[in-house]
Amino acid sequence: MNRRTLIAIFVITGLALIFYVLMPKQNKAEPITFTASASLRELTIDEKISEAQIIAIGEVKSTLPSKWKFHNKKDTKNATPQEIFEAEGLFTDYLISINQILKGTVDEPIIRVRSFIGETDQIRWKDSSQVSYNKGSTYLLFLTQDTGPTAIVDPGYYRSVNANTAVYEIVDGKAISEDDEWALDELISYIENALPRTPTP
């Protein structure tokens, strides 16, 4: 290897290193974070049972892309942060596989449950009253079909009857919500006893 060859190697390697160093600057910007807040109702377990159309235990299978209230008119990725802020942010649908139904009926073994948080390339919409469902986790959910302002986008989903106080994550045999905690079997038993008994044919 002669001298010219060595120089060529150094030059090319140097260019490669410079390109590598500059690369992080081309990463996308951090999304703008909004944090919404709420006043929730104080609901007893009996009130949750009463308000829920569906009480079910299910496992989160997947998370769908976040959308906003006017997604049908303008795709979420084209909406400005200000527009999304004015529209009270993003929401996200989660696909949950139903393992057990304690109240009501569902047409499909997998249902969509909406939570009013989300994230896109541009913004991150947080809300401490909302449940961020974890894929693979199991929840006992007090659900109702949503008729709220976002119901025009992908209808047919459910929402919690009282935000994060009506969704119980099941961990180590316990059912835990934002304001409540039960032994899972006790909670199931309580719910079953609270519901009117269906006559056995």
Partner: protein, 464 residues
């Protein structure tokens, strides 16, 4: 392979080597390019993060204090000392009688003002009456054939003689001894004589539109014909009466004859020289303490908001609705020593309004919008799907509740929501159930209307 192609092959080989050197990065390089398709982000395996016992502790302690105290006072020591005095004289009713004199050869003429009977005239002009009064005495030696006597009445305007009037009497034997009447005429001058009924009260004259000073001079000039004895009179009186008219004569404004001229000028210009400049502190953010925590702050201490009142719940008047929300805002403004202030301003972009939140299970929803580390706007939506009340009167035995089992108190909830405008976080802690920022509200609850010490600590820390 000849000698010419060898170097070319060497260079190509080196290029390939160099490409291999940074090939480990090549996928990253192209993933940043708009030409390359996006690589899906691997889904993270969820890790249960919930623990039964909150392990976070609040260690931050608000330490902000105010040390700037303006101590200046303004003292002006200059005084005003006027040396001249102002005097003014006014002419009453537009007329000044500057002199009244008589000459009658020795018999006294007494002056009276506004005496005698009231003439039967009126009108717009100011009238002045003067009449002469005398008692005729009969000289025992008087010959009734000598029957004339005279009255001279001289009218002057200031120093100029306007008119001299002569009045005469024919003294007849039939004329009773006693009061007699004289009469004068002023046909060519704005002095009008009124012929009084015979009352024995003497001569009367009326001056119309007096606007200046007048001087009256009266003179009794008793003439004797052919050396006859002159009847003499006594108790001569000249009467003046002034009757202001209703219009036509303006009442002059008193004009000061002396001008107030201050001889001393204030030369001491008071200057306020602050010895301490008050510099507001910078709002803090992302703090925490016992039963409170916060995120970003507004970059100013004064936040403008408006209340949209269309629609409002049918069971509540607009006035009560607005008053409840304003009271909620004032609760945060009242926190001391914090300088944070809510100001209601019609048309402000930050609004409290009745609107269904995206999650319609919420009683109310708020969202402050941060930008560049500061809050730039905010709103609160109050859910109209629930029933509301404005009754802040607690039931006996429960100061934190108005007894309603179907409605939510609007001031209770909005006070909590406006705490979010300050970017205070919801608190869900069994040891902090009485704080305004507790995340949930029950029917009839009033407890959030009054701030807890934790709420005040939060504001004082966030907005010192």
């Amino acid at each position: 392979m000849n000698q010419k192609t060898k170097p070319i092959i060497k260079i190509l080989g080196l290029l390939l080597t160099a490409l291999l050197l940074f090939s480990f990065n090549i996928s990253n390089v192209f993933s940043a390019s708009i030409l390359a398709p996006k690589t899906p982000t691997p889904t993270r395996t969820p890790t249960p993060t919930r623990t039964l016992t909150p392990t976070n502790t609040f260690t931050s302690t608000p330490t902000n204090t105010f040390t700037n105290t303006p101590t200046d006072t303004v003292t002006n020591t200059s005084t005003w000392t006027p040396t001249s005095t102002a005097t003014a004289t006014a002419t009453i009713n537009g007329l000044t009688v500057t002199g009244l004199s008589q000459s009658n050869g020795g018999d006294g003429i007494l002056l009276g003002v506004n005496g005698g009977s009231s003439p039967s005239i009126g009108g717009a002009e100011t009238d002045i009456y003067a009449w002469y009064h005398f008692d005729l005495q009969t000289d025992p030696n008087w010959n009734p054939g000598q029957k004339y006597t005279y009255l001279n009445l001289t009218v002057k305007n200031n120093t100029s003689t306007i008119k001299t009037i002569y009045a005469s009497w024919e003294l007849t034997s039939s004329l009773p001894v006693g009061k007699q009447q004289g009469f004068v005429q002023f046909p060519n001058y704005p002095i009008v004589w009124y012929d009084l009924p015979y009352t024995g009260n003497g001569v009367q004259i009326t001056i119309i539109n007096p606007g200046q000073s007048w001087t009256f001079t009266t003179k009794i000039d008793a003439k004797a014909d052919a050396g006859r004895n002159v009847p003499y009179t006594n108790d001569h009186r000249l009467h003046l009466a002034v009757y202001p008219g209703s219009s036509g004569v303006s009442t002059p404004t008193p004009t000061p004859t002396a001008t107030f001229t201050p001889t001393s000028t204030s030369t001491n210009t008071p200057t306020f020289t602050p010895t301490n400049t008050f510099i507001p502190a910078t709002p803090h953010n992302n703090g925490s303490g016992t039963c409170w925590s916060s995120q970003e702050s507004w970059d100013a201490y004064m936040v403008y908001y408006d209340i949209l009142t269309s629609p409002i719940p049918g069971n509540i008047t607009e006035a009560d609705w607005v008053a409840s929300i304003e009271a909620a805002a004032q609760t945060w403004t009242n926190v001391t020593p914090s300088n944070f202030t809510f100001v209601r301003q019609i048309g402000a972009s930050n609004t409290v309004r009745l609107e269904v939140p995206n999650d319609e299970s919420k009683l109310a929803a708020s969202a402050p919008a941060p930008s560049s580390g500061f809050i730039t706007s905010g709103y609160t939506k109050i859910n109209p799907n629930y029933l509301w009340d404005v009754n802040n009167t607690p039931i006996p035995g429960n100061p934190g509740n108005n007894g309603s089992t179907i409605t939510y108190n609007i001031q209770n909830v909005v006070t909590h929501e406006l705490g979010h405008w300050l970017y205070l976080n919801d608190i869900n802690d069994s040891n902090c159930r009485d704080v305004t920022m507790d995340y949930s509200s029950g029917h009839g609850e009033l407890i959030k209307i009054d701030l807890d010490i934790a709420d005040e600590n939060a504001v004082n820390w966030q907005y010192p």
